[in-house]
Symmetry: D2
Subunit: 305 residues, 4 copies
Amino acid sequence: MAILRMGYAHVRVTDLAEARQHYTQTLGLDEVAAVDNKLYLKGWDEWDHHSVVLEEGGVGVVKFGFKVQYEDDIAQIENRAQKFGVTTERVSKGEEFEVGEILRIHSPSGHFFDIYSEITSGQSDVGNVNPEAFPRDLRGIGAPAIDHALITAEDVGQMERFLHDVFGFWTAEKVATTLDPADQHNIAIWTTGTNQIHQLAVLEGPQAKLHHFAFRLEEGWEITRAADIMAMDDVPIDVGPTRHGITRGKTVYFFDPAGNRNEVFAGGYLSFADRPMVTWTPDMIAKGIFYHARELNERFTTVLT
Amino acid sequence: MAILRMGYAHVRVTDLAEARQHYTQTLGLDEVAAVDNKLYLKGWDEWDHHSVVLEEGGVGVVKFGFKVQYEDDIAQIENRAQKFGVTTERVSKGEEFEVGEILRIHSPSGHFFDIYSEITSGQSDVGNVNPEAFPRDLRGIGAPAIDHALITAEDVGQMERFLHDVFGFWTAEKVATTLDPADQHNIAIWTTGTNQIHQLAVLEGPQAKLHHFAFRLEEGWEITRAADIMAMDDVPIDVGPTRHGITRGKTVYFFDPAGNRNEVFAGGYLSFADRPMVTWTPDMIAKGIFYHARELNERFTTVLT
Amino acid sequence: MAILRMGYAHVRVTDLAEARQHYTQTLGLDEVAAVDNKLYLKGWDEWDHHSVVLEEGGVGVVKFGFKVQYEDDIAQIENRAQKFGVTTERVSKGEEFEVGEILRIHSPSGHFFDIYSEITSGQSDVGNVNPEAFPRDLRGIGAPAIDHALITAEDVGQMERFLHDVFGFWTAEKVATTLDPADQHNIAIWTTGTNQIHQLAVLEGPQAKLHHFAFRLEEGWEITRAADIMAMDDVPIDVGPTRHGITRGKTVYFFDPAGNRNEVFAGGYLSFADRPMVTWTPDMIAKGIFYHARELNERFTTVLT
Amino acid sequence: MAILRMGYAHVRVTDLAEARQHYTQTLGLDEVAAVDNKLYLKGWDEWDHHSVVLEEGGVGVVKFGFKVQYEDDIAQIENRAQKFGVTTERVSKGEEFEVGEILRIHSPSGHFFDIYSEITSGQSDVGNVNPEAFPRDLRGIGAPAIDHALITAEDVGQMERFLHDVFGFWTAEKVATTLDPADQHNIAIWTTGTNQIHQLAVLEGPQAKLHHFAFRLEEGWEITRAADIMAMDDVPIDVGPTRHGITRGKTVYFFDPAGNRNEVFAGGYLSFADRPMVTWTPDMIAKGIFYHARELNERFTTVLT
């Protein structure tokens, strides 16, 4: 298991004060550090230094971090990336705040992926000795951890090969033009290398864009309560609370003050390398995305940052 | 990731007809095959041929299966097992019904662990094309899949080394006599090699015994509803519904008609290889096991099969 | 407490076979009787003969029944109705299948309200001696009981007076043009005479129309699961699952095969005669109706039957 | 509907500071006033001045308040009480802090019941204009309101007649020695005069004692979360979380620092005057009380204050 998880999302926001309010008071992340025009945040159940970096100036994704367990894993992924034919660069330890040496991959989708094994690390907010089940006084939604992201790319098939060959990910679910593998064009893929039902999903669209990044909650009632908190805090909801057909997870999509789409996501089944891949056909895309409404709103399919 | 998951539990039951009723009608597993004095069962969300084998005659565990992804993984684990110094044997394809060639390891705990990469395989009950979120008409509790087991062993420290060295598992949580690693004696460990918070747990006790094996549910309300179904079906409940401090999962412990302890388990956090291990001290064991009552009943700590 | 509850909804459906499938298999009501072109249904937790009457031919509401406890209550309501100035008629015992003598009120809204104290009565599906918490094998959504209805009327203020003076209902919540009682025009009212947060709600609109009638579920997860079942059964969902600001209840709106709108409704607070009335202002209507999305779809406000 | 609800519980506690911590920080009630050796508290969703009075000195119940809608209701109940043959007294307005004139009934069970229609009144913590669904930042369990109490009495049959004749309550459920009404001796009764499944329950036992008084939550997950908070706050849990067979409600029983038993209670079905009474037989008492475990602990049946 080379890649442990999506370790961080680094996104641009138009106003850092507004973003701080949203991510720390509504989502309930911990503010770990504020350096120059950047905020570093983590969820209460995370032990690495940060999982979200907010950078003032614009909107959209700067890069995603993917953590590996061992330093050797970085070199292994570097080899695979070069073999695949994408550009890579090394970023020295400390250039990325609190993070060790980084392999930065220029993804075929136009995104930057940071591979790292070292980051300043502590413990979750409940600690490691006789911990309580959760912090007694959570703020707002109280999101425990980052979960995954959905990005867009012009060539989803190429990204599937990239994520398979370089990250060791498999496709848990896909939306394809037909069920015939020989003739199949992928419209979207949900990929992972662990039990997490998706670590990175890719949707056909413009290069280098962000559809959303997501935070993990545990149960359906927390999804409903998250939407309640958004109503109280005047956070614009895109869609939800509802269930995905794809992944079976429960969800709310909403926007941060800069217009980046967030998600809170709960449940879904466990992925395994040997589990048969699920395919959705074009006539069932809407049910796959929003299992209850079985229709897509235009905003959901067109607003990217 | 050599070991994908605990693939099957093979247990003895005193009466096959009673056991069939319990496992298929109350737990809601699918009966896949009945051969000689054995029943083969699977959950609705499993794609391998079976995850539970019930064998008439006695009580207790016969063996556990652990599935690996590739045939090569078997040889790798065989090497590690021999290096560790435990007895192993090869079981030819087909000797275990619908399973390929097996590496059978004689665990230091006195249990048998089957390592296999091949088993007759199909799809989950909702299929792989535009699947529904769950089967519309589930029976009883409707358990989707097997999850983990808790066994007893005289030497938990030895089992921790075995599971680490041979299975590649890490200890997610433990109950230890002190917090000082140098002087620490493990009373119980919860180990895994994936995001599942535990694949196998080991409690200090007699060799070769079963404390319980568990089925996965998704949310807390399903745990409550499972207990409701048990009340309707006169299934004896040991403890629950409640929450574990250890793993944070929600749980009901109950008994099959032969007296083997089952569990339904939901939630809990995701484990990662780099997540700091949690340690529970002896004074907090009861809260670790049963977070709400903070006391252990005698039955829970003494009834083994 | 003169009026116990909304006892039945009698609605028209275009096709009885389709409606039977929807109300008994998706909603999970019991079919009690089929007479001529009518089906009589009840929920599993109801003890009166029926709570829903489906009549083939057309669409929309025929009448609502309101049950009172004593025969004397009928005469008392008759007096109040005549004093209010609406037309009433007496319907002899047996004219309405399995119902005793009825006082039929011609509501100012153009609807017919049946007041009755006698109806063939039995017990809920779990019985009255050592009952289980719910029937072990529910069909589909498994709705236990009818709950309330929302109708439209040209003059909501007049309906509020009618429901107050004749039914003894108070307004638990309202949408009003201003907060100034002197200058206030009611756009919608939610009225009740018991702890049920609404027994009948009235929205400004055409006379004699039905917006929806609702079935009661207990918890939020049942609302989500109800939407899951609707997805599996191809039932068109109007809105939800979501929460109402008004009543705080959780909800899914959907359509029966004839196009009548149904709701499943769970939770909400208890109403009391002395509880201060809640007022919603026009700018907050959307949040009052759909607390999460804070926007109304056109279908929801225009489709009536 | 003469009696609206159980309006307040006035109990003794051994230490006011400890009790304040428990009732305001763990249960999450609002402290409204502190006068002499008494604390006055209310839940966030209550509008009357207080629903709990804590009086320093001893343990157990001082009295319960029952609110009626109109001043005339007081005289009506006074007449009924005198006809029944119990002692009553009038307590002048203001003698009970912030409460109007009171009819104090000496119940056959040895308890004092205050009947009142007037109490200083405001609004719930979310207000009456465009209210949020709940206060955004609740403390601890965040109990919205008091719900009911269970008291003991030597003669439960006499109490049933008293509550019927004087309060207008009916028995929703009972535990009786036989199913034969002619020969039936009541061991416990759950009585109400509204949709609340119980306003006051009576168990055979010593006179003038308190088994528990309860706070209302809405859903099962809140019951589990309440038990989590109790674990964090070292509140001793008696039983739960579990479900009652009787009332079907979800529950946790626990103790305040003085040893008075509290309950958080959610769900259960709606009671109606015409709903058939449920009877439990002696062999099923344990399942009726604790539906899952189907056994009673000795503490639950013997600890009274």
